[in-house]
């Protein structure tokens, strides 16, 4: 069996999770301190990919990165092409997974006790130090949950991915596009194998989350 789809899916999910980690946290951190009206508008825009059908997201991505579109042409000049490439899959998965991290991180930041940050400032700690050493650890449960959700969502992404990068065996094939392709061509046996692989990964992710949560509780109980 060709294991390329597994490798490709994991690589897309991992890279898009990293992108989403930084962009989602930055968006959450700055949106908390915006005026209410602007915050409301921004919140709708940033959450849209969660509620739109993934194919619609894929359509927008094609509008943006298509080879006849200004941005697509500009990117192609510098040798970057998001259509029909595996790293286009990273973009598609990141856009779809982004709201999951953004919203959980924002919830955690909103629940954060501001006096802790103020205490840090009066103790002479820099704002960067306060962010990484106090705010993030205090909010880590929400953020870990967001990362796991985003990773799982990116791993299972189908709609936007198939619109943007299609299905090319050994190049852009992911687990989810492979399952569909195999089933469509009547190869039920291999489709079923890939379903099992997918189940195994999902179970492993959920197990990890539960273990992390339990360890966290123990740390707090001690």
């Amino acid at each position: 069996m060709d294991w390329y789809p597994l490798f490709n899916s994991l690589r897309i999910a991992a890279l898009s999770s990293i992108i989403v980690f930084f962009t989602g946290i930055a968006a959450a951190y700055y949106s908390v301190r915006l005026p209410r009206l602007l915050k409301g508008v921004l919140d709708v825009v940033l959450t849209l990919p969660l509620v739109l059908p993934p194919t619609v997201v894929g359509y927008f991505l094609l509008l943006l990165f298509g080879s006849r579109r200004p941005l697509g042409i500009a990117l192609e000049q510098i040798g970057v092409k998001f259509v029909m490439t595996w790293y286009g899959g990273v973009i598609a998965a990141a856009v779809v997974a982004f709201p999951l991290l953004y919203r959980t991180a924002r919830g955690a930041f909103e629940a954060f006790d501001q006096t802790l940050a103020q205490a840090g400032q009066t103790l002479g700690l820099s704002n960067t130090y306060i962010f990484w050493r106090i705010r993030m650890p205090a909010c880590r449960q929400g953020i870990i949950a967001g990362v796991v959700l985003a990773f799982a969502r990116a791993l299972g992404e189908y709609g936007a991915t198939s619109m943007l990068i299609g299905y090319t065996p050994g190049k852009t094939a992911t687990i989810s596009t492979t399952v569909y392709q195999l089933w469509r061509t009547g190869d039920d046996y291999h489709a079923f194998l890939w379903v099992l692989v997918n189940l195994a990964i999902s179970a492993a992710v959920l197990l990890t989350v539960n273990l992390l949560e339990r360890r966290q509780k123990e740390v707090h109980r001690v």
Binding site: D113, L116, Q118, Q121, T122, G124, R133, A138, R140
Partner: protein, 347 residues
Amino acid sequence: MSLHVDIRKRLGDFVLETAFDTEDAITGLLGASGCGKSMTLKCIAGVETPDSGCIVLDGETLFDSARGINLKPQQRRVGYLFQQYALFPHLTVERNILTSLHRERDAAVRHRRLREMIEMMQLEGLEKLRPAQLSGGQAQRVALARMLVNEPRLLLLDEPFSALDSHMRDQLQPQFLDLLRSYGRQAVLVTHSRDEAYHLCSQLCVMEYGHIVRSGATKEVFADPRSEAAARLTGCKNITPARKVDDRTVEAPAWGLRFTSAQPVPDNLCAIGLRAHYFHAKAAANRASVQWAGELEEPFEWILLFRYAEQDENTPPLWWRMPKDRKPAVLPEVLGIAPENVLLLTR
């Protein structure tokens, strides 16, 4: 040691407008919750920014809107003890104290100062615990240690005892006072408790609705609160609207009485206050017939409620408070109060 504060800040309909100068060791800001006293502290610390005004500590300008100066809280070297102590929940006691020292490069110095502080604050044995495992008193000491290890020039104490139960509160106050005295820097203490203010502060500013209504030496403020709000906040139970009759006489229509005062009556008099401890059956001045309206027993005191014979029925009864052993066997029909105990109050 000197602190000059003169700031204005608008928060919706609320306007904070405080100004005070102090050279005293411990200055108190006394007021009900929501009067702006914590906001004042936060402006001094720099975690909130006033709309205008200036803050000067020991000759150094921390904030001056006219000159565009606004030092970051990190640059002010001002310690802030938060109401709930704001200990970092994910760090041990030791790590909480060490965060203040993270700029100190020399590990040996860091360690020595940590040990000194742990000893001074009697935190031995608690080093590896997390904030959630500490009692209120321990958490307070850790927060103090974390603040003092940084050697701040000014201490801002935001309701330092409100997170403790009442018996701890009374027990810890003498220790707290010793500690502040031995540290030898100025402190500003915010409280809503007149007992705390009286115990701990040599100088007092009484605040209401964002304004300072009376300030001065603590004992003076309690003896002569001058404004109605300050009288109420320093614990005066019997306050009624009043008007000036002549230089030494005031009239309180709701009580149907005139009172003689020891001090000259100001023209803008609006009310008088009679402290509940100062009535006396044998007092020669300001005598009037009373009707008894009930009693409240406290652990060590009695409160007898009464109305003056001519008192308006829609106004609440007055309080007469006395130690348990002084309660008269037969309640008197007439009560008086010395002219020097009639508090003359203005707006």
